[in-house]
């Protein structure tokens, strides 16, 4: 299981859009709903092929999510797509009441999450979204890590009967999974086995966790890497197994540490199997100016940052 630094990288929005078009060709209930985000959601191709099934409500996120819920009530399958910070921040109450509490089949697609908007600043960074959405009952949360897993998650999301938040990475990532990977809620993917430390990562950080495992392997540290794309429901069995079979757990996510993946894992382990942990993410502060790449490095969300946490847990 290796990830060469020279491997080609991908913007997962392309995989999202291509898969959505494939689904829409086969099922005329599929509609895309956006907030003037045809371009940023990469929905130009969808619009060209299905002009009537691209509902653009303009710059109006509350309306966006409500309209999505109404389309679901009408028997359509809406993929509600917008930049993650505005979708989850501006329309959080609609996500709670209209989608989750009303338990309708709305697929909320958060585009360009985490630090993807880089220099545009903290207004545009979506690092709180996982904390916010994890607090909402009955909402499944999926954070794919590469194009194949993005496609699998989109396919799965079209078939379920309930609300889901799909967080689609924009920061270029290498392929981690085989093309035929499938998404199963509550199930994680073991992307590298190891016996000393476990790294549980999501999204952009999965490939970086694999690179970290390579870095410390030369030092004699064996790292297990788990892709926890299913943030809600969490794969609790995999977390508990990692805690008993390795000496500590590192979590890594492009989000605040207040309530995302790290918090979910820590809560589980604190109650059932107290385990040394290092929770990597963005501290509770607004980021300084910089590109996405710069900010990931600034907050230690790199292969080297993950490797340092792994070394720390084994006392090196």
């Amino acid at each position: 299981m290796t990830t060469a630094v020279t491997a080609p990288t991908f913007d997962c929005r392309k995989a999202f859009a291509e898969e959505l078009i494939d689904l829409a060709r086969a099922d005329d209930r599929i509609v895309a709903v956006c907030n003037d985000s045809v371009g940023s959601s990469n929905l130009t191709g969808f619009r060209d092929e299905f002009p009537d099934r691209l509902i653009n409500v303009g710059i109006a996120e509350q309306d966006l999510v409500g309209v999505g819920a109404g389309l679901a009530n009408a028997g359509m399958i809406p993929f509600v797509s917008a930049a993650a910070p505005f979708l989850t921040g501006r329309a959080l109450e609609q996500i709670k009441a209209d989608a989750a509490y009303s338990r309708v089949h709305v697929v909320l697609c958060g585009q360009s999450p985490g630090m993807a908007y880089g220099e545009l600043g903290p207004t545009h960074h979506s690092i709180e979204d996982l904390s916010w959405t994890r607090a909402v009952a009955d909402l499944q949360i999926v954070v794919p890590s590469d194009p194949a897993q993005t496609r699998a998650a989109v396919r799965w999301a079209a078939t379920i009967d309930g609300p889901v938040y799909l967080r689609i990475p924009r920061f270029p990532v290498p392929a981690v999974h085989p093309d035929d990977v499938i998404y199963t809620p509550g199930t994680s993917t073991l992307v590298a086995d190891g016996s000393d430390v476990t790294v549980i990562a999501i999204g952009t950080l999965v490939s970086r966790a694999l690179a970290a495992a390579e870095l410390v392997r030369a030092e004699g540290i064996s790292v297990r890497v788990i892709d926890m794309a299913s943030v809600e429901p969490l794969d609790t069995a995999a977390v508990l197994a990692a805690a008993s079979q390795t000496r500590g757990v590192v979590t890594a996510e492009e989000a605040t540490v207040t309530g995302g993946l790290g918090a979910a894992v820590a809560t589980l382990l604190a109650e059932h199997q107290p385990t040394p942990m290092r929770i990597l993410g963005v501290p509770r502060q607004f980021a300084p100016t910089g590109s996405a790449s710069f900010l990931l490095e600034h907050f230690g969300l790199t292969a080297e940052g993950i490797a340092a946490a792994a070394r720390d847990l084994v006392g090196r």
Partner: protein
């Protein structure tokens, strides 16, 4: 500003034969509602009574819905965006056979399906969970877009509180409805001129309200929201190819003299003596 639909007088006479039954339904809805609020010791009686005639008209003579098949995909949709008036909605649904009348006795009791605000996963006939204001209209608009895509004749009705119109999301939805030409959508404003704390015009001015809706691209029908004939006229389909906004001028607390047009009856709970008086007036 009112645009009376062009309906042949014979058709109208036939239609108006439903009015006595609508009036009786409205009376029963108010009677059940005051008893529910009395048992639960909570509720929103003022708004329940202002909207009761609107609900009775819709469920009594307008909506194509079947209590025996409440999830029929081709049913008309009704959304109560002012979800705090769940008591009036539950009473209406019970008197129309969607839920048993006995269920009303559980209103707001522990573990009851009848929460203080309506829940579609627990109450047949409820389309979306409302309560926070400014939510129902966008959902109704989404449904109407879906119906239009499907080429369905089904209609969408949504009732908004007038104070609720201070929520900006309604105006986002109004723009969308107009942009998408949702001619089978009717938005009804329960214009009782009072909100929780004071008169709407003292709190944040809504007037000129008809002009606002017209400027957002709606066919506006400004009516007496307690006159069944005017309500039936107003709920006729659009005559202009535009979505319809009905400004139903109502009286908060309508039907009980000491509650009418008084701000404190937004969510005040009547005493036992007041309940008796209310029942007496509603039974007269």
């Amino acid at each position: 500003m009112s645009t009376p639909p062009h309906l042949a007088e014979t058709d109208r006479s036939l239609r108006d034969q439903a009015i006595p039954a609508i009036a009786e339904l409205a009376r029963q809805v108010r009677l059940s509602d005051v008893q529910m609020i009395n048992r639960a010791q909570l509720g929103h009686i003022g708004g329940d009574f202002s909207v009761a005639d609107i609900l009775a008209t819709l469920y009594g003579a307008v909506l194509n819905v079947d209590p025996k098949d409440p999830t029929d995909p081709e049913r008309d949709r009704f959304v109560l965006s002012k979800g705090h008036c769940a008591g009036a909605l539950y009473s209406t649904l019970a008197h129309c056979g969607f839920i048993p009348l006995s269920a009303l006795e559980t209103f707001a009791q522990p573990l009851s399906a009848l929460n203080g605000h309506p829940n579609r996963t627990k109450v047949p006939g409820v389309e979306t969970n409302t309560g926070p204001l400014g939510h129902g209209f966008p959902v109704a608009v989404g449904h109407a877009i879906g119906a239009k895509l499907q080429g369905s004749p089904r209609r969408t009705f949504v009732v908004l509180g007038d104070g609720e119109l201070q929520e900006g999301s309604n105006w986002e939805a109004a723009m969308t409805a107009s942009h998408y030409g949702l001619t089978k959508l009717t938005a009804i404003v329960d214009r009782n001129r009072l909100q929780q704390g004071a008169r709407t015009e003292e709190t944040k001015q809504l007037e000129p309200l008809a002009d606002k809706w017209a400027s957002f691209g709606f066919e506006v029908r400004d009516i007496d929201g307690h006159d069944y004939r005017q309500l039936l006229d107003a709920f006729e389909p659009s005559t202009t190819g535009r979505p319809v906004a009905v400004i139903a001028n109502t009286i908060k607390g309508k039907g009980v003299s000491f509650m009418e047009d008084r701000v404190e009856w937004h969510h005040k709970v009547p005493t036992a003596e007041q309940v008796e008086l209310a029942i007496e007036e509603l039974s007269a």
